[in-house]
């Protein structure tokens, strides 16, 4: 059932607006040089951080469609009746969501990095940092979607909940784009691993708690 659920998530992601977070990401990256000015050195210094803010805000966009429609339609109930564990639902949703979010965002990160003045080795570092970060962003999105499913104004609430949870990821992710010598990349990977490993359990518990 889990494999079918992953396939379903990918199909619904592509059928829905998989390009929307990516377009938003590029739009934010485009605005940065306008806001900061054309000074290449300054842009290069803040570029990594700006890119991560763009990635984080882009990850917020799909949250409302990840869990809530399936909760409201009783799909989550039916999955429970087939004997699928709520944690397995969470893991399948994470993988399915990442497949329609991660690779696209990584591709968009190439023009995105250039727009904020990261090129050469800095471009390479920013791509690695984004690549490691996307599974964690997808996992956080699914967990936060499950925690806010069924609540009024869930979209706004999800933003308030997700931003602080993503702070460690943003700190190390942005630092890893700036300095190749530091241990920021390893710390980012550690934070991402923690989030990816924990999110299915948070999602499963939230799905159970929302069942009335």
């Amino acid at each position: 059932m889990t494999a079918a659920l992953i396939g379903r998530e990918v199909r619904r992601g592509l059928h829905g607006a998989a390009w929307l977070p990516v377009a938003f990401f590029l739009l934010v990256a485009t605005i940065v040089p306008f806001a900061v000015g054309p000074d290449g050195r300054l842009l290069g210094r803040i570029g990594g951080g700006a890119l991560w803010i763009a990635a984080l805000t882009a990850a917020l966009l799909p949250i409302e469609r990840l869990i809530e429609p399936d909760r409201a339609n009783g799909v989550l109930d039916q999955l429970a009746l087939t004997g699928t564990a709520d944690e397995a639902i969470g893991a399948a949703k994470m993988i399915g969501h990442w497949l329609t979010f991660g690779p696209l965002l990584l591709v968009a990160a190439i023009p995105g990095s250039l727009l904020v003045g990261l090129d050469g080795p800095a471009l390479f570092r920013s791509l690695i940092s984004i690549a490691i970060g996307t599974p964690a962003l997808a996992a956080l999105s699914v967990a936060v979607a499950a925690l806010t499913a069924g609540l009024p104004r869930a979209g706004a609430l999800a933003g308030l909940l997700m931003m602080p949870l993503a702070v460690p990821l943003v700190i190390f992710g942005a630092a890893a784009t700036g300095d190749g010598e530091s241990a920021a990349l390893k710390l980012e990977a550690a934070v991402a691993l923690l989030i990816v490993a924990g999110a299915p359990f948070v999602t499963g518990a939230a799905i159970r708690a929302a069942r009335t």
């Binding site: 059932m1 079918a4 379903r8 619904r12 059928h15 339609n73 009783g74 799909v75 109930d77 039916q78 429970a80 009746l81 087939t82 004997g83 069942r211 009335t212």
Partner: protein, 184 residues
């Protein structure tokens, strides 16, 4: 034949209100239980409790593998009906589609189905699941006369094969049913 459902002394409190208490449920192969009672008496909650989606406030319950049809449309709206049903991987899908006369609707997107057609599709999903215990919440909602007779036939065939059914409904169902009346 072992029993498909065994519940003892079940009680359920929801929103600070006691819906029912001391309910014993027992279904053998071929058994059928009709849950009746006024609106708000806890019929749907009892079905969800048997499904395992709610936990009893008291008592214990054991059941065989079950399939549930409530008032939700759990099929993906953007897919054609046959593909939406196939997602649920029912081993008896080939039998379920003709049983509810859905052959002609197989290529119609689920979002275009009428209330009664959607209900038949949900009932077909239950039949397709091959689960021995059916949990039906208001199974007759929206069904026309033909749909009602298909439902009756499916229920009779399921019981003849050794399946069991719990249905919550305000109207009589075909065949012999044990009655359980919940009080408001």
């Amino acid at each position: 034949m072992s029993s498909l459902l065994n519940g003892e002394g079940l009680a359920l409190i929801r929103g600070g209100r006691l819906l029912f208490e001391g309910v014993d449920l027992k279904l053998e192969a071929g058994g059928a239980l009709h849950v009746g009672g006024p609106n708000g008496s806890g019929k749907s909650s009892l079905i969800r409790l048997v499904a395992g989606l709610l936990h009893p406030s008291a008592g214990r319950i054991e059941r065989a593998e079950a399939a549930l049809a409530d008032n939700n449309l759990t099929l993906d709206r953007e897919l054609p009906l046959s593909r939406a049903l196939a997602f649920w991987k029912g081993p008896k899908l080939a039998e379920a589609i003709p049983a509810f006369a859905l052959e002609d609707l197989a290529h119609v997107p689920v979002r275009l189905l009428s209330t009664g057609q959607a209900k038949r599709a949900e009932l077909a999903r239950v039949l397709a699941s091959g689960a021995p215990l059916w949990l039906l919440d208001e199974p007759q909602n929206g069904l026309d006369r033909k749909g009602l007779s298909e439902l009756g036939d499916a229920i009779t065939a399921h019981r003849a094969r050794g399946g069991a059914i719990i249905a919550a409904s305000h109207t009589p169902l075909p065949g012999q049913w044990t009655m359980l009346e919940l009080e408001a």
